[in-house]
């Protein structure tokens, strides 16, 4: 079997967010799909897909390790977000092809399934503590046993720090009053707090209600500082979504900067790299909770990883938008707090091309700006 071409399909939804998919075609009539992380300047990723495709056409798609090295080593310079996003999607598509060729779900090519169902946590939101508690209760009523939210109110940047911390504690108290003591509640500071000591103050204050983990407690650039912070953190540190490849995740592990690794399958280097990161984590007695804010295709790719990985902890999940649901042949949603195992062959999901062409690309997606009260630029 040979790769005949690789297409990048890009589409903008009603909110201005982009869906970027890859479809790898072969001379055997089998094709595979993958999802590109939409990093913002998404046209750059489609250029990368074309660039990699020039090298991959004519290669055997089932030689996944070799094809990965062909792209990675051929780029020479660290390729950064857009290049890795493209490589990640192509890698997923090669696993999809290999699974289809063997008529097996991808997880069966990864040493087989280690679990019967896949625990999910659900992202909850609320402007006020009451709204947040209400969202928590609704999610628990749907069967989720694990939730995640911001540790601070949405407008914390405009608040005095101690007030923001007190409000964060009040929000957590409201969640506990709504759902009880036995629901796992993780917090995502989203790499938005610059000073490590502030995170420590915040987390100490939240400890009364038993946080499950604190995610991206500080910025991700400096792995050494993450390690020093974790030495003092009173709860588990979750991080890793902004790190690239096993090499950067390894730096984090070496610095002792993490309890729960959160690699992103659409940017870390794909399923191949997710596996290697999980092995390294296993060797350090660490667990993996894949980051998952992308579309339904990325979710399914993650589910195959989750099904086959012993040191998997929990899968991030969120509400999919109508355009995302329409863009694929079928989505997998959690039931009673667990995803069912994905079904093959391959990833078991395909692209609905008409949906993407009917919503053509309208331009790069921008995360928006955040500023501090003095109009200096905040982290987002």
């Amino acid at each position: 079997m040979k790769i005949t071409n690789i297409e990048c399909l890009i589409s903008s939804d009603e909110t201005g967010s982009n869906l970027v998919y890859v479809r790898t075609n072969t001379d055997a009539g089998i094709h595979g799909v993958g999802e590109v992380y939409h990093v913002g300047p998404d046209r750059a990723s489609t250029d990368w897909v074309e660039y990699f495709a020039e090298q991959l056409v004519g290669q055997d798609p089932t030689e996944i390790e070799r094809n990965w090295a062909l792209c990675y080593q051929g780029a020479r310079f660290p390729m950064g977000s857009s290049g890795l996003a493209a490589l990640s999607a192509i890698d997923q598509s090669l696993w999809d092809i290999t699974g289809k060729a063997l008529d097996k779900p991808v997880y069966e090519l990864l040493g087989g399934r280690v679990r019967d169902k896949i625990r999910a946590y659900f992202d909850i939101h609320g402007e006020s503590a009451a709204e947040l508690a209400d969202d928590a209760r609704k999610s628990v009523d749907r069967g989720f046993t694990a939730l995640k939210t911001s540790p601070l109110p949405p407008n914390w940047r405009e608040m005095r720090w101690n007030d923001a911390v007190s409000d964060g504690v009040a929000r957590f108290r409201a969640i506990r009053e709504a759902v009880g003591d036995e629901i796992d509640v993780g917090f995502d500071a989203h790499a938005a707090i610059f000073e490590p000591i502030r995170v420590l103050e915040l987390t100490d204050a939240l400890m009364e209600y038993g946080p499950w983990f604190m995610e991206e407690p500080i910025r991700m650039e400096n792995r050494h500082e993450m390690g020093r912070l974790r030495e003092k953190m009173p709860c588990a540190v979750a991080t890793g979504e902004c790190l690239y490849t096993k090499f950067e995740l390894w730096e984090l592990v070496r610095e002792g900067g993490v309890d729960i690794l959160q690699p992103e399958i659409c940017i870390v280097g794909g399923l191949t790299e997710m596996r290697k990161i999980a092995f390294m984590a296993e060797a350090h007695d660490l667990v993996v909770a894949p980051h998952n804010p992308m579309g339904p295709l990325a979710s399914v790719a993650n589910l195959h990883f989750d099904a086959a990985t012993s040191n998997f902890l929990v899968q991030e999940s969120r509400v999919l938008k109508p355009a995302e649901i329409a863009s694929v042949t079928g989505v997998i949603e959690p039931v009673d707090g667990y995803y069912p195992l994905p079904e093959g062959p391959g990833l078991g999901i395909d692209i609905v091309e008409e949906e993407l062409t009917s919503k053509p690309y309208r331009g790069s997606w921008h995360r928006g700006d955040r500023v501090n009260p003095d109009n200096s630029i905040a982290f987002i």
Partner: protein, 379 residues
């Protein structure tokens, strides 16, 4: 598909014993594996017998789950008996998976990364000249990489400075005969306890442009290897004495190694080896699998090597010329110093039951080494 039985085989090859196993399934597919022959081999067979009911009735495709639950139920660190048993089972499970898929095992481990698997050949002889002659014979056969002991076999009984001088003469004779081109490695075989002495030896032989020095420190204390590597200006290879992902990661995290040498028959098998290779890759470390046992070990090593990007070279001892080659039905012989990749489904080797039955196991042990004062040496 369900596992219906696990059968063990034990055969004497004239030098030591080989331990094989077959896992049978209800779909008529049988997988073959080999476990490390550690000396007290019957304990490995007993361990496999103990594990057997944990596998009967299970789906052989759930390799991670089957091996994980076996390790977890055993709870205590496994040691050589448990790791050997698990490794043999893992290899047989991959053989089944490959046969079921109609693909060679490497195609299920990420696909092939290379077209052939280069080997180095052990070279032996009573004298340095004889070792050199052996290398020259093998060069004529197409081999281009070799490994030998840097020290004479009776070094424990002689003054250390004489042993060093003889190491120098030995390397000089071999390099003089084969030239600087062929890759040449040496194996200290964890026999030197004092790192200072190992360093002295390394300094004497490093000028002979070695591919690596193997096991220059004892394996129990990883810091010894780390201390040596800080000083070495030659590649440090080690790992055959280590089991499993965690122990290899300790070695890698300690900056103690340039080339790891997991043995497919006791490191935990092909899935564990894949994990180990991934961690090594993140440390810029390559993999040169240890491979002194049966032909199935070579086959497992070839599949592993074919599936990883950071493979270095595979150990090989010309086993197609030895009695143990009778225990399998297929004959794998390197061409121009490298194995071509197998294309048959699974591992690509099957057991010759008649030959195995005709060579019942014999007592085997490694023997004992002693220093000149009669105290036990390492070997």
């Amino acid at each position: 598909m369900k596992i219906t039985d696990i059968t063990t085989f034990h055969a004497y090859d004239g030098q030591r014993n080989n331990i094989f196993l077959e896992i049978e399934t209800d779909e008529g597919i049988t997988g073959v594996g080999e476990a490390y022959s550690i000396g007290p081999d019957t304990s490995v067979i007993s361990m496999l017998d103990e594990m057997r009911p944990w596998f009967i009735g299970q789906d052989p495709g759930r390799i991670e789950w089957l091996i994980r639950r076996t390790k977890n139920t055993l709870r205590f660190p496994l040691g050589q008996v448990g790791w050997s048993a698990i490794s043999g089972i893992d290899i047989a499970l991959w053989d089944i998976a490959g046969k079921a898929a109609g693909l060679p095992v490497y195609s299920l481990l990420g696909g092939k990364t290379r077209d052939r698997v280069r080997v180095y050949h052990g070279i032996y002889g009573d004298s340095p000249d004889r070792v050199a002659e052996h290398a020259l014979e093998l060069i004529d056969e197409g081999y281009s990489a070799f490994k030998t002991s840097p020290l004479p076999s009776n070094w424990r009984e002689m003054p250390w400075r004489r042993a060093l001088r003889m190491a120098d003469e030995r390397m000089s004779a071999i390099r003089g005969a084969i030239g600087d081109g062929p890759d040449l490695a040496v194996d200290v075989h964890v026999a030197i306890r004092e790192t200072a002495r190992s360093l002295e030896l390394a300094k004497v032989i490093t000028p002979y442009r070695l591919m690596f020095i193997e096991e220059p420190a004892r394996a129990e204390f990883i810091e010894s290897s780390a201390a040596l590597r800080k000083e070495f200006r030659v590649a440090l290879a080690t790992g055959e004495n280590l089991y499993g992902l965690h122990r290899f990661t300790e070695l890698l995290d300690a900056d103690a190694v340039d080339i790891i040498q997991p043995d497919m028959l006791c490191c935990g098998g092909l899935l564990e080896a894949k994990k180990i290779a991934a961690v090594a890759e993140a440390h810029y470390v390559t993999v040169a699998p240890h491979n002194p046992l049966g032909l199935l070990s070579t086959a497992a090593g070839v599949h592993h090597a074919a599936s990883i990007n950071n493979f270095s070279i595979l150990e090989w001892h010309g086993d197609h010329r030895k009695k143990k080659s009778e225990f399998v039905n297929e004959s794998w012989v390197p061409v121009n110093g490298a194995f071509e990749l197998p294309t048959q489904p699974g591992i690509g080797m099957t057991l010759n039951h008649e030959a195995i039955a005709a060579n019942p196991p014999a007592h085997w042990d490694r023997g004992f080494a002693t220093y000149s004062d009669g105290s036990p040496g390492f070997l």
